[in-house]
Symmetry: C2
Subunit: 362 residues, 2 copies
């Protein structure tokens, strides 16, 4: 039995054919053994078992017997009971409050996650990431966070007045915001970069290449990062700033770049420079420019933001602002960890350097 079922399907049949192989019987899991069981098996009390589990004085003989028993039955502690007693879970939640598309195509989020996980892991914490993709999710995640499943949380792309954001404040869960601090200044620290300064810097650099008509594709104006990047752009342009040359788009994604670039080209065919507020957006913009027969950087210079893996893969490679995503994740993790440990004075914010990296798209 149990032939590999997938040799049966062709993969070509466009129809909705679904192949089921033979059933699998879910064997009712045998009851897990408890400290009590181990104690009985080793002929000692639960207290002693606990002492070998969590440190304490215990005689060599007893210890040996207990360890044997543990190995024998493959004992693994029940964390619900343990958490209940210890009043902590040794887990930290990670949530990215981003729309689908961004979540799927923004490599930065993954990098932040990996960075955060690295330091939490070292500290013995389990990082669990929760996706929020509907109101139902929001509610459930809120319960999850306040229910004691985690000792702290890292929240990426929080917006002010977001239900989760406010909840965290209310229940006093150790937390840190990444990237986009909410407008309301509350007791929750954040780590990020200087979006205004970086946007200003890269726009200035673009201006220095002698562009006459510079536009911006401005996504996510409902987030601090979005408005900050726009602010920096405006500051750099000064008198030359023309509101008609900023195309607002909803998200930091490829589709936003495509839409924004079309708008811009429409409004100002003589455009010769574009600041796209993320690399994914820039990639979309470059695609439109290519289709419109515009050469980059010959006819129009394009700069992005993030220095994510997109930047290396556009043609030509993108000039952009480097965002130290991995490090941001690490810092965020450190900050929650310190709060969990009860550190009284963790910094209210950490800003990391985000230098301009100049490649060939402008």
């Amino acid at each position: 039995m149990c032939e590999r079922a997938h040799t049966l399907a062709t993969g070509l049949g466009g129809v909705n054919s679904v192949v089921y192989s033979d059933g699998v019987t879910t064997s009712g899991a045998p009851r897990r053994s408890t400290v009590k069981d181990i104690a009985a098996a080793a002929g000692v009390s639960r207290g002693t078992v606990n002492r070998v589990l969590n440190g304490g004085y215990v005689s060599p003989e007893a210890r040996a017997a207990i360890q044997a028993a543990i190995a024998e039955v493959g004992y693994v502690p029940n964390t619900a009971a343990r958490n209940l007693k210890r009043r902590r879970s040794e887990a930290v939640g990670f949530l990215a409050l981003e729309p689908h598309t961004v979540l799927l195509e923004d490599p930065n989020i993954g990098a932040i996650m990996l960075g955060a996980n690295a330091v939490l892991s070292l500290a013995g914490y389990q990082m669990v990431s929760l996706v929020i993709d509907s109101d139902r999710d929001t509610e459930r995640v809120a319960r999850y966070l306040s229910g004691g499943f985690v000792d702290g949380a890292i929240i990426v792309s929080a917006r002010a007045y977001d239900p989760i954001t406010t909840l965290i404040g209310q229940i006093g869960l150790p937390a840190v915001f990444v990237g986009h601090p909410p407008d309301l200044t509350n007791a929750i620290p954040f780590v990020g970069i200087d979006n205004v300064g970086s946007a200003r810097a890269i726009t200035q650099r673009l201006m220095a290449t002698d562009r006459r008509r510079i536009g911006m594709i401005a996504p996510a104006l409902n987030r601090d990062s979005g408005v900050d990047r726009l602010t920096g752009f405006r500051e750099a342009l000064g008198d030359r700033f023309d509101p008609a040359l900023v195309a607002e788009v909803p998200h930091y994604d490829y589709a936003g770049g495509v839409a924004g670039m079309r708008t811009l080209l429409d409004r100002e065919p003589a455009l010769d420079g574009v600041f796209a507020a993320s690399d994914a957006v820039a990639a979309g913009a470059m695609q439109v420019l290519r289709e419109a027969g515009r050469d980059v950087p010959g006819d129009v210079g394009v700069v992005g933001f993030d220095d994510s893996s997109w930047a290396d893969r556009t043609q030509p490679p993108l000039s952009t602002v480097h965002q130290p995503a991995r490090e941001i994740g690490r810092r965020a993790a450190e900050l929650v960890h310190r709060q969990i440990l009860g550190d009284e004075d963790v910094p209210g914010s950490v800003l990391l350097p985000s230098p301009v990296v100049w490649r060939h798209s402008a």
Copy 2:
């Protein structure tokens, strides 16, 4: 106080300057209120409180008083206690056993996640994704899974003999594998596609465009999907199969495509067709071809696998095999859910259709 600290940094300073703003004092969280508290506040017993929480007969007056009390103090149940009693967590774990790069740049994983989350969410389950990025992680996640934090697990890209894979089997946790079933056929179902058939089909299609020398970039030969795709390729080519024209690379990633394409071009400059076993790989390969001055599809036809967002964004758009990632996620979630519910005969495997989609790269 609390000026926005980030107006201070320039974002340009290449040095390791880090700006800390004023500290934040972690307010010791006030004790959470319990069912007992609510009962006291409402002047009823805990049993009654529980009845309004979890359904049951309760008089209108009592109910009103209790609900008022709950709202008053913002009661939220302690899940550790609840799990301990109920012996379930209403959460399921999601793990992707992939290397960094793949995790970060493979949009399919995100899509699977979203699909799975959608159905789990509807069923009232919290999906938590766990990243495994080191041996330390493996061990901790193993404890997490066996400790009762989750009622089930979805495992993407499992390999046979992987510690997690075997653990899951041992502890009898309801689980399902996605994409790449382990070689050992055990009691854990999987959902995926027919890799052999699909690889064969797209290779045949490529052959039909009159290519003479067709090579393959073959990543992840330590996974079923990797060897299956290679098998399909070989089957399609039949007598014309030339082992010198398959370039093995470690991972399903862009870098793999770059490396593999270089190898292939090196070994056979007259190459005029390439099957890259994932879209990310194909994107890397096309980049190398472009740099080598080869036109796609003029000089060499390229096909990929996955139909991820990469496929739309290569230049020209990629001919590839459509993988219904979202649906795969949904099915996987259904399968764990059914197991958790105690369904005795869930299918041992589910294979979804994966049609070839023909665009312009071949």
